[in-house]
Structure formats: C-alpha cells, structure tokens
C-alpha cells in the first residue's frame, strides 16, 4: 500500500477537487440567488465538454480558447431559461416573489428533471451515445517525483484561478457583496436597494457559464458522453450540502474532501467502487442534513 502515500494520488485528488469546485460554484450561485435546484447543472457541463471537444477535433482550437465559447453557450441557455420559464408562465410569479422562493416545491424540480432528460437525449441523438476523448497537451511533466500530464496541470491551474477570482469578487466587489446579500435574504437585499431582478439574471448566467467551463475542463482529461452530466450534478450537490449555501470557502473544502474520499477510496479498493462512493456520500450527506441546502443557514442564525 505504498502508493497510497505517493504524490500521484494527491495530484489526482487535487485535479478532481478543483473541477468539483468550479462546477459547484456555479450551482451555488444559481441555488443561492434563485433557490432553484437545478438538476440539469451537470448536463450544462456536458454541453461545455462537447463544445470543447468539437472545437478541438473540427477546428483544431485549443480547449483553453474554447472555454469562453462553452461559457457563452451555457450563459445563453441561462438567458433562455430565464426568458422562457422564469419571467413568464406559471413559474414566473413564484420565481420572483421574494421569500416565496424559499419554498420552491418539488414540482419545479420536475421541470428541470425534464430539461435534463431532453438535453441528454438531444445530445445522444446528435453525437451518438458513445464516449469520446481527444488528446491535448499530453506531454508529461515530472515534478517532485510526480508525473503530471499537461492537460491535467492546465485544468488544475485554470480551476484554481477561477476559484480564487470568485473568492476575491465575492468578498471585495460591490457585485459580490450584492450576491452575498441576496443569498442571505432576497427580501432584505431588495429593501437595501439591490436590483434583485437584474442580479438574479446575472447570477443565473454566471452559474450556468461556470458549469460550461467545468465541462470543458473535464473534457481535457476524461472521456465525455451525453450521459456524463448526472454524476457532476450529484457531486455539486454534495459540495453545497456539506460546504454550506453561499459559503465559498466551505464549498472549496467540501469539493476537495469529496475528491479525496473518491480518489483514495478507489485506490484502496477498486475502480468499481467509484460510483458507490459518490452516491453513498450523497445519500449520507442528505440524511445527515435533512433540511438540505438551507441547513447551515438556519443553524447559524
């Protein structure tokens, strides 16, 4: 069991954790500001992953350059959801009625389950269901006895930059403070003069875009398929449940914890335990916090 203490596993866990961090950051923004439990979050990552894949295989465009494109596409999807579902139709009244948001019922979740199934199967229809991968930056860099492939190192770096930028924005800029206030209490935020509607659209678009970026980063080192999204959604949920809503530092800690549990758990057993570990942690987390994502907020009052 020497390899348990090797830097190789540590590196793998760090890469996986940073990907989870970016994906969960997006979900945190969307859930925090809109109280929208977006189960299609991982499918947006799938969209981002396929954008990066096609840009690379058809146009020879580096994933680093196609990431903004993936982000843009997902932001467009956010705008469509906002225009089509949240500002008109029966959801509109509920979605923008201050505190009523907090009790978003199971029904709205069904809408996003439907959306998730549609996205997966449209992708399967367009790209076939078979997994794909591409080779990008697969040179190996040796550092301190750890061999790191270029694409994973790049993914780790970009994810770290995004994480730090998000922390800085949320803590120091007016925009970030407004978002934090809205996560804390949408009604109070409105009272102190924050344009809640505009910020909601902004948060929704940023959240979706982050999912797209996470997908693009995943595609650099792993196989992608139309059905890759659900585990990403589940991982993001785990991170928010354990890390706390609107709590970025808690979320980062939870993302790396989940990645360590998965990477080391698989190393100690066998790869067939990967899914069992993921869903096991998810079920355990929800049972420990039956109030779901709001538990920490309520508890800290």
């Amino acid at each position: 069991m020497d390899h348990i203490f090797s830097g190789q596993l540590l590196f793998s866990a760090l890469v996986l954790g940073s990907l989870y961090m970016v994906a969960a950051l997006g979900l945190n923004l969307v859930y925090g500001t809109l109280r929208l439990l977006n189960v299609a979050h991982g499918d947006l990552a799938m969209l981002g992953a396929f954008t990066a894949f096609w840009c690379f295989t058809l146009l020879g465009l580096s994933p680093l350059l196609s990431l903004p494109l993936a982000a843009g596409l997902c932001a467009l999807a956010a705008w469509l959801v906002h225009a089509g579902l949240l500002t008109r139709g029966p959801l509109a009244a509920r979605a923008f009625d201050g505190e009523v948001l907090q009790r978003l019922e199971a029904n709205s979740l069904l809408i996003f389950i439907g959306l998730s199934v549609i996205l997966q199967n449209v992708a399967a229809l367009a790209f076939t269901g078979s997994p794909r991968a591409y080779r990008y930056l697969d040179g190996v860099i040796e550092f301190a006895g750890v061999s790191m492939t270029g694409h994973r190192l790049a993914a780790l770096t970009i994810a770290a930059v995004i994480g730090l930028a998000a922390l800085a924005i949320l803590h120091f800029s007016r925009y970030g403070l407004a978002i934090k206030a809205m996560i804390e209490s949408p009604m109070a935020a409105e009272v102190v003069g924050i344009d809640v509607r505009r910020f909601r659209l902004g948060a929704l678009m940023t959240g979706f875009a982050l999912a797209g970026v996470a997908g693009g980063l995943i595609s650099m080192s792993e196989q992608i398929s139309p059905f890759m999204g659900f585990p990403v959604t589940i991982a993001s949920f785990i991170v928010i449940i354990l890390g706390g809503l609107g709590n970025l530092r808690g979320g980062m800690a939870a993302a790396f914890m989940l990645a360590f549990v998965q990477v080391y758990g698989v190393a100690l057993t066998s790869p067939s335990y990967a899914s069992v570990l993921l869903y096991g942690v998810f079920v355990g987390a929800l049972l420990l916090r039956p109030e779901g994502l709001l538990a920490r907020r309520v508890a800290s009052r």
């Binding site: 199971a106 979740l109 389950i113 199934v117 549609i118 869903y279 929800l286 049972l287 039956p290």
Partner: protein
C-alpha cells in the same frame, strides 16, 4: 368526488383486460402486458407521490429489488412464491429506509430517492461482480400469457388499494399532510407513521412487478433492471394522467405506451425527449393531468 364517474370507467377497462387475451395475438399480448406493468407501477407510485406529495424519482429501486430477489429464488421456489417474495423484499427495504428518508422534504426528497436508486444499483452491480456473475441466464421463464394474467391482477390490486386508501383515515391524513405537514401534525395526524405506511405500501407492488418482469427475458442484466428511465417514466405517467385521481394511472400509462410503441424501437431518444417535453408541459400548464381535464369537462357539461 363522483364515485361512479371514477369506478365505472375503471371497471370497463378491467373487463376489456380480462377479455383481451382471447383475441390478442402474441405481439398485442406483449403490449397489454406492458400496459398492465405501467398501470401497476404508476398506481402504486400515486399512493406516496400523489396522496402524500412525496415525489419519488427512484421507484425503480423497488422494482429492481423485487426482480433481483425473484431472479435469485427462481427455480428454487415456484412463481407464486417468488413473486410475493419480491414484493416482501421491496416492502421491507422501504420500511427500513423510510424513517430517515421521509424526514427529507420537497425537492430534496426527489433527488434523494434518485440517489438511493443509483446507489443500490451500483451496490448490486458490485456484489454481482464480486460473485463473478456479471451476467446470468434465467432458464424456464414463464409464458407471456402467465405474465399477463399476473400483471393484470397486480394492476387491478394497485388501483383497488388506491381507491380504498383514499376513503380511509390514512388517505385523508396523507392529503392533509401533503397540503401542510406542520398543520396536519398539529391537528393530530400521526404524520411520520402515515408517511411510512404510504411509502411502504407504494413499494410492495412495484417489487412484485419487478419480480415478474425480470422473468420476461432469459438474460439478466443489473443495469437494465435498475434503469433510472423506469423511474422517470413512472413519474411522467403519473403527472400526465393526473396524480390525484385513480384513473390517472390508466390514462397516463395508456398514452405514453401508445407513444412508446410508435417510437421506442425506432427512436428511443426521441421518445425520451418527448417524455421530457410532456412532463414540463403538464407540470406547468396542466398540473392535475388528463384526469383533471376529464373532471373539469364533466362538471362543465
């Protein structure tokens, strides 16, 4: 509620179901068998998802546990023991997990049930792998006609249970707690016990249906038995048919089976996309489903 308007059409459908095998060909018999399967699953789901408002998106777990049990017992015991054993296993599982799981409410309950179904699927997959049995053959499977009669009996039983429960204290209590759980508890509804009863009751028949359906093909495959698409189809059928109404299961299952017969073999993806579109459309614009539409028209004339 108008009882004759509910029970009379159901009796007509049942009469048709009894007369059906005398003229049905081998293909139409399979369609009838599938219809009975979906009616039984959807009507059982309605007990918990409709009456109590606890929307389970993981009902395939009961189907799968029942199927797995009967597959293991097959050729050791006769069919009339294997099938109730499957129902018993599913019911016991629901009883065991029910208390902690039902503390989780609303949208969190929906994703939790989804997570549990995936977790159990991967656990069964893992144990089959450890046993070195990645695939199994089942010998001496019963005829389609036998399966048809058994499934027709289960579909009838599921609807009868639903009709009875609606008239009892349990049913009234469930509807009360669906509207407001805290208020129901205040006026003396034993909320926790009623929820557990509904959850367990809604698991038993799916277990028996799974026990029968696993014997339909000679080849046993865990991922097919625990396929999440089954859960998704159950919820969609219930919502489209009308989750408040015992006629809903028949209407929803009938409509979707019709669509699926046209599309499933040729374009499974388009079938699932259409399912997603229908689910979103009904949640948004016709939350009481086709049965609700019928009742409204009945009142108007």
């Amino acid at each position: 509620m108008n009882r004759t308007a509910t029970i009379l059409p159901l009796l007509l459908v049942l009469g048709f179901g009894i007369a059906f095998p005398s003229w049905a060909g081998s293909y139409t018999l399979i369609v009838g068998l599938l219809l009975c399967q979906w009616i039984a699953l959807t009507a059982s789901w309605t007990l918990c998802g409709g009456l109590a408002g606890y929307i389970s998106l993981g009902h395939v777990v009961f189907f799968g546990i029942g199927g797995y049990t009967s597959m293991l017992l097959w050729q050791v015991v006769p069919l009339w023991i294997a099938v109730p054993a499957g129902g018993l296993a599913a019911g016991l599982f629901a009883l065991l997990i029910g208390a902690p799981v039902l503390r989780v409410r609303g949208p969190y309950f929906v994703i939790l049930t989804l997570g549990i179904a995936e977790l159990v699927k991967y656990l069964v997959l893992l144990s089959e792998k450890e046993l070195g049995k990645s695939s199994r053959l089942i010998f001496g499977v019963p005829s389609n006609e036998t399966l048809y009669w058994a499934l027709l009996a289960l579909a009838t039983l599921a609807i009868v249970i639903l009709l009875i429960v609606r008239e009892t204290r349990l049913g009234h209590g469930l509807i009360a707690l669906r509207d407001d759980e805290t208020a129901a508890a205040t006026v003396g509804v034993p909320v926790a016990r009623y929820k557990l009863a509904a959850f367990t009751l809604s698991a038993i028949i799916p277990g028996m249906v799974g026990a029968l359906m696993v014997l339909r093909s000679a080849y046993f495959d865990v991922t097919q038995l625990f396929n999440a698409e089954i859960s998704f189809a159950i919820v969609t059928m219930a919502i489209i048919g009308g989750r408040d109404d015992p006629r809903g299961a028949v209407l929803g299952a009938g409509l979707l089976l019709l669509i699926s017969e046209f599309l499933w073999a040729r374009a499974p993806q388009i079938y699932l996309i259409l399912l997603g579109v229908l689910l979103i459309g009904f949640v948004l614009f016709l939350p009481r489903g086709l049965a609700g539409l019928l009742s409204r028209r009945g009142k108007a004339s």
